[in-house]
Symmetry: D2
């Protein structure tokens, strides 16, 4: 079985294994205040173009989302998200578990638009009885989205403006940020992301690390107490250096972006092969997640040797299939898949 069902099927990039092995016998203080974490923070600040940004390391995506959101919001506030946002549908109610409602707005393609956030906020704050509803206190987006699409610089800029107008922080879930920023569609840099978002994270788990997400607060006014929040949510890793060492490695020699490209390239190869056979797609993703619409027999045939994720059916009865590549995807395995197609 060759696995394309998700982007966390392998361990870590060999350079990370090497770093972890080489540093294994070092003695360091715990909880992320060691030299590796400090170094990784510096490298990320540089990469983001904001030497004063605050950088924190957490273990996984759900943990990061719930910790950031709960830490930034006041108790009575909620977080605006696309209805297909990861926090709304795939995190077991983690955000609600911290007491906050996810204010889910409809979205065809998984993105939020500046217009709809504006309309929602206007409607809320204009209501004289607004205290019967949940005050929007943050906007959450994923880039790329859960369906592989990236925000354009213009889209993100407008969203950022709306958020600032209502004094609501903008938070980007960058679990797959590497794949987004190296996508053919992308017109943004990490500097842009840092400028537009008040807080975002750079995903490691799905992009080369064993685990780990680097949270970047460019807006320091909302970072207060964040280490308390991490600890309180069980996310302060005792051997915090493991996160530092991994991000140190990923942000040395541009490794993070180099390995991201592999995923996108292999994904597009699969896309082409399917397209040539006449299959349609859910959308025009240029990132590591591809969503072909496949008939039952073709899907069943392929699943004998390859694993994919199934996301329901279209009205025409076609399967919405997710095929994921990642930093570790081997060309020969993709060759085999293309051949099978």
């Amino acid at each position: 079985m060759i696995r394309f069902e998700c982007d966390y099927t392998e361990g870590a990039h060999p350079a990370i294994i090497k770093s972890l092995t080489e540093t294994n016998e070092e003695q360091t203080p715990g909880y992320g205040v060691d030299i590796h974490c400090d170094h990784a923070r510096e490298l990320i600040q540089q990469a983001c173009g904001q030497p004063h940004a605050a950088v924190h390391f957490l273990v996984g995506g759900t943990q990061t989302n719930m910790t950031v959101i709960d830490s930034v919001l006041r108790s009575y506030q909620g977080v605006i998200s696309s209805v297909s946002g990861h926090i709304n549908g795939h995190e077991a109610g983690a955000v609600e578990g911290t007491g906050h409602k996810v204010l889910a707005l409809p979205s065809e393609d998984g993105k939020l638009t500046a217009e709809q956030v504006d309309a929602f906020c206007k409607s809320h704050f204009d209501d004289p009885e607004r205290e019967h509803n949940v005050e929007p206190g943050m906007v959450y987006i994923s880039n790329p989205t859960e369906r592989g699409l990236v925000y354009s610089k213009k889209e993100l800029g407008m969203l950022s403006s709306v958020c600032h107008r209502y004094d609501i922080p903008l938070f980007m879930d960058g679990a797959r940020l590497g794949y987004g920023l190296t996508s053919k569609d992308n017109d943004m840099t990490l500097h842009d992301i840092t400028s537009f978002c008040d807080v975002f994270y750079i995903g490691g788990t799905k992009v080369g690390a064993l685990f780990g997400e680097a949270v970047v607060f460019s807006n320091l006014s909302i970072e207060k107490g964040f280490r308390y929040a991490i600890k309180r949510h069980g996310g302060l890793l005792a051997k915090g250096r493991l996160l530092g060492i991994q991000f140190e490695t990923l942000f040395t020699d541009n490794l993070y972006f180099k390995i991201s490209q592999n995923a996108n390239e292999q994904a597009l190869r699969i896309h082409e092969a399917l397209e040539k056979k006449g299959y349609k797609f859910l959308n025009d993703s240029k990132t590591n997640q591809q969503f072909p619409l496949l008939p039952d027999d073709e899907l069943n045939r392929l699943e004998k040797d390859f694993s994919f994720a199934r996301f329901g059916k279209t009205e025409d009865g076609l399967n919405i299939v997710r095929i994921c590549t990642c930093w570790a995807t081997r060309k020969d395995n993709v060759d085999k898949l293309i051949e099978a197609i």
Copy 2:
């Protein structure tokens, strides 16, 4: 600087690094349903003598405590703990963050006694207006305690009986369980722990792993929904196999207990050296945490080359110092400390 301030200063046992390296390119499903996790579960079930126990893997101790406690308790219940229990004083209010009060009982030595739990529960359940107080719904103990002491089989048996009488699950925090079970003072086996406790965990983070805790439910009736709870608290590791691989390694050839012994042996060597110099101790710990009472000048002198943790002062003005060894503590480093003493 040679570090004795805590038991998570190094990476992982070389055998674990080796396992992680060797399995690095394997493709597995995520979230702990892979063959390594399955194998690790079997090995732990065997080691516990309960083939039907449910075994789950989490990343860290605070995360494990809050997830177990929140999952087992009803919303209106609290958890009984020694006032010095880790959940009460060193986890940033994580348990309260899930909505549950820690019902802290006084304790000289950090242990809870069957008598005091009995008295507390009796007093609560006899009160006709008991709904104005928090219903005790679980008993939490640490073994060894935060001050290095182990429960005797008799003590744990009696505590277990009281808990059963009130139909309240007994939960053991085993962050340092390896050091407890290999202590000279200990008269219990892992089988005993499994019998007496409804749920407990076997700590990996402090005993040879990069990270990881193995939760064992011997009482399956309270395990319902635990995977939801892990996910909801952000603890379901995407590459769950990392936990499986580590516990697979630790529970092969008795590695977990072998490496635990080293910590206790080195700790006792330090103990002896300090005792010979006439220093007193906070208690008679035989495990990897030693608590000598040191005057300022001696402590300051030693801290030039060695790092310890300070736990306040005695009434006589002596420093309560914690000196930790662990599975990785090197004999030559302890030699240097002894020489310095």
Copy 3:
């Protein structure tokens, strides 16, 4: 200004004021264990046809919803609701504040159907990775709904069956239950409600009382710890007898239902008057809430002397207006409104 904007514009039915005045100097124990509460519980048990049902009194609707839901659910569970359910859109995130997601299902008319609950539950429980989503642990419905419609006996029976099949309690918000059970459309009795629902409440705030909701658990297995839950959510009224006295009065001589009829009768008079003028309605409510679709000029004209609630606009630009009557609505005031129309 004559008020039709909601059904809590006046104080209490004179019989209640009389009871409160007459009992004012009595001395009773606090927290709802007095003779008035006991008596009210008996009267309600009789009215429900279940002498063993557990009856508790709370102060208001949001408080009741959050307390029942949080008390019955396990921490990792959520509650299914219509998207227009009161808990989803008009309670400031109170349910999420207790840590539980509201699983909002689409609904044209505000009701949930047995089919959609079945489909949702089947989809959830069939999913091998279901722990990434919130487990449905309760079904919440309002009767009448927030838009004034009542469930038929057949509809409720089918919903109840589906809930039982999945072992998920059915909870009915009866904030306006009196208006529902005395509606021309209604084919159920309080006995039916008690049989079909595991727990529901009989609204007093909107039906004759100063405040107060009577929660009825016909399924005692989910009532465990409910008094703790009330206290923990700040809902245990010190002078609990105030609730007992009010429900004692409402359930003596069928007062609750008698005064409910007035609201429905006056509502239908207003309905007819509007219909005669050619106005359409949002739906065919036969209860105390009427939702005419009015053009701006007509609405503005009427609002000079009468207050209504506005619920947005239709696609045609008509105002969706809510006109509420209640137990206290005076015939002469309705006459004036009809004349104005």
Copy 4:
């Protein structure tokens, strides 16, 4: 049975019953934005000497405590309280239910001192690893305390200074504030309370009202979002005017303080009678709660005709008894008790 077990045994002061009756048929908007609430707010602002203070009305004490504390604190903060504070031991874990730890400090007499708050805060904020503990974010005191003692102006002033030094709001639970401010021991006015505290509440439930507490924020910077918080915690009373009408009445012609005096006077009469018989007291309370230490036989004898609350035993085996008077306590009933003594 003549009741002295608590201070909420009767209904409301006749003037309140009268006001409620007279206003019963008025139509007002809901949720506390009516003319009675506005008027009551003005009267309280005047009484507090702060025309710009924000005043909100809630139904009960536990609800008020949890709502204020949860609204003001950041998610990762806790509230400092005396170990005998009402929030710590008698509210079923309501504060923890909102996710916040109660940081309970020891206290002989139930009061917190400026020194101990200072020492606790200093110790916390000086700790470089403070994020492993809960950040103190508020100080909670009761005045009078749960054992009937009042803070002196000097004590409260010093406490207030310490709080300001650490930028931590000071919150006073004034459930029995009327009895405190009219006590012979008291040297403060409502103006002083308002100056020293950032937020406090004036208890109505125990002082003449059917129910109700008036929260006064003199520090407006921490009041943001409070109406959302009330609604989210189920505390926004639909017929909010009921609270306005009651406080309007209590703060007209100084009624609140006049009726408070009665309680203290009757309490001191009982005190004298017991003292004459040679009985000792737990403390020197001059307010409506008296705590005589009575032998079993005497207590049992008295309890045939009078109800008290029992608060455990002294080391000498005497019963710690609480005898409560209130605004409604009748002189003839106290005569009977004195005669029995």
